[in-house]
């Protein structure tokens, strides 16, 4: 009997289980999967004692199941970026572009595990975490929220990796591979980790009450700004503005966009860190916003050139996803549609504007992620609803939130720009950042990786695996025509 009554109360609480609600009811911490997004934990001061009062948080299988999937989905976004970018460059630079993304798995992933995670999610202070989790010490399968800590770490790692890859779009076709790797590695430590701490690690932005559900500021504005800096410091491509540089394989770019859309559900809905109403809401908004952006974008294209382009459509989907990211779990599906539609405009015109400037942000990372991210962050301050898990925004009588959002945006822009600039300059001291004109002409694939994306093998002569000078080569080939190659 009492059980039933209790059940009803709990069930009722669960129904309103938007991330804010549950923390008011201690019991739920034990039994339910409703632990809110980490970002909100810090914002709700009264949650801490409640949690302290409750027995150790338990791992919830259902939440674990969803987060396992979410993490895998977000990890798929890195190849997604690789194909999206890879299809948009010229064939002679396709592999280099894809490698800039895939290699981030190695460099940023390891850097994150060794130190980044701890700097971002170690308790630490308002601006930076500490080293309690360095080298993944103290990261076990005990519960962090309602999922195993190791899983939480993996989920965050997937974000760190994909964020770094976004920057590549601004310096494709020309940045030397070594310096690039050095840059994204250091960037993950010195730029990404701190900002992640501010927003999700209990840092000052979260304390301030800035809303960023899945990383509009941490991921997109941050990457977008760093991208511009990189484009400027690395410099223009050899023929930029002189010859037309066309996407060599649009279907590949389309594949990238598709994988991004797919993976983004893990990115946004996964940020609820539980399989609950918040995740469901975030999922719906993440699905709807890009749909609206796509409609508006195709309309703008049609108006301007009488034709809706495929590259435009792929771009629109990404922009829509970027815009909804900070708001995903905080706004209603209806608002998501409006946000998606509005979000198309700034990015669309930013792209047109950029192509008239001397700024060689080759694949428009600024317009897509930077501008899109800012639009999203600000619109979040307007459309957020307590009823949907956020703090009320402008439309719901809380203009203050809009100011807070602007603060978050501003802080991110400044920090990211300054530190990214410093890092690039530092690396430039060690080695040249940009490939010389000849290498750019031959193509980055051959000069940076000694490969070509598409080969027919005509006139390719086999060389003994350890032959050194090309001169030797041909004779070696002749000599070994016997088959011992």
């Amino acid at each position: 009997m009492t059980a039933n009554i209790l059940f009803n109360i709990l069930a009722y609480a669960r129904l309103n289980s938007v991330p804010v609600a549950p923390n008011f009811s201690p019991e739920l911490l034990v039994v339910s999967s409703l632990l809110p997004a980490a970002a909100l934990l810090a914002a709700l001061q009264d949650a801490a004692p409640a949690a302290a009062a409750a027995p150790p948080p338990a791992i919830v299988p259902a939440d674990t199941a969803w987060m396992l999937v979410s993490t895998a989905l977000v990890l798929l976004m890195t190849p997604g970026v690789a194909f999206f970018y890879g299809g948009l460059v010229r064939a002679k630079n396709a592999l280099n572009t894809m490698m800039m993304c895939m290699a981030a798995f190695g460099v940023c992933g390891i850097v994150w595990a060794l130190i980044g995670y701890s700097l971002a999610f170690g308790t630490g202070g308002a601006f930076l975490g500490d080293l309690q989790f360095a080298f993944l010490n103290n990261v076990g399968v005990d519960a962090k929220g309602t999922i195993p800590h190791a899983l939480f770490m993996a989920y965050q790692a997937s974000f760190a990796v994909v964020t770094a890859t976004l920057i590549a779009g601004a310096i494709v076709d020309r940045m030397r591979f070594g310096p690039y790797l050095a840059f994204i590695g250091l960037w993950t430590i010195f730029v990404y980790a701190p900002i992640a701490h501010w927003v999700w690690g209990g840092g000052w932005l979260s304390k301030l009450g800035v809303l960023d559900f899945a990383g509009g500021t941490v991921v997109h504005i941050n990457a977008g700004v760093a991208a511009v800096i990189a484009a400027v410091v690395v410099g223009k491509r050899k023929d930029f503005g002189r010859t037309a540089m066309l996407p060599h394989n649009v279907p590949t770019a389309m594949l990238g966009a598709a994988l991004l859309y797919f993976g983004w559900f893990g990115f946004n809905a996964g940020s609820a860190l539980a399989a609950n109403g918040s995740a469901a809401g975030a999922f719906a908004t993440t699905m709807l916003a890009p749909m609206a952006t796509l409609c508006v974008w195709m309309a703008l294209d049609a108006i301007r050139t009488q034709r809706a382009t495929a590259v435009g459509a792929a771009t629109a989907i990404v922009v829509g996803l970027v815009v909804i990211t900070p708001a995903a779990g905080f706004v209603s599906p209806k608002s998501a549609i409006i946000m998606g539609a509005l979000g198309a405009l700034p990015s669309y015109y930013a792209i047109l504007w950029r192509s008239r400037t001397r700024l060689d942000d080759s694949l428009d990372v600024l317009a897509g992620h930077g501008v899109g991210g800012m639009t999203g962050a600000l619109l979040t301050g307007i459309f957020a609803e307590a009823a949907w898990g956020g703090t009320n925004g402008l439309l719901y009588g809380n203009p203050k939130q809009l100011v807070l959002q602007a603060t978050g945006v501003g802080a991110t822009i400044v920090y990211s720009a300054v530190v990214s600039f410093v890092l690039l300059k530092a690396i430039a001291l060690v080695g040249k950042l940009t490939a010389d004109a000849r290498d750019q002409g031959l193509g980055m694939d051959i000069t940076q990786h000694g490969e070509e994306a598409y080969t027919h093998g005509e006139g390719a002569v086999l060389v003994l695996a350890d032959a050194e000078a090309p001169a030797v080569a041909r004779h070696a080939a002749v000599a070994t025509a016997g088959g011992v190659a």
Binding site: L246, P247, R307, R354, S355
Partner: protein, 117 residues
């Protein structure tokens, strides 16, 4: 001995092959090329960038024929490749001083007359 080089529209290729076949012209080599002539250029847009494609897709045929076949061949192509619209292409007749059939090392006339296998 002449080498007849013809540039035609891709979508006319099959008709040309057909018509050459009927004209008993068996051997030929084809390649995809890009051409520029009097055609108005297509304009494409990629994000902010608008480009004008000065070159149109065409197909290039290369046909080595013995004197008596020259006119037949040219006529066959002219008939099949013509649409009357700008962009139909050109035919060039180039002199040849020697032809070899690699398989048999036959030379000249013998080399281009259909192989009897």
């Amino acid at each position: 001995m002449k080498l007849i080089v013809a540039i035609v529209r891709p979508d006319k290729l099959n008709d040309v092959l057909e018509s050459l076949y009927r004209a008993e012209v068996r051997g030929l080599t084809v390649s995809r090329v890009l051409g520029h002539g009097g055609e108005t250029d297509a304009v494409e847009t990629y994000r902010g960038t608008t480009v004008k494609l000065g070159l149109q897709e065409k197909v290039r045929l290369e046909i080595g024929v013995s004197e008596p076949f020259v006119d037949v061949t040219v006529k066959a192509i002219l008939d099949a490749a013509n649409t009357g619209e700008v962009g139909d292409g050109k035919i060039f007749v180039v002199p040849v001083e020697g032809v070899y059939r690699i398989r048999t090392r036959e030379k000249d006339e013998a080399a281009v007359t259909p192989a009897l296998v």
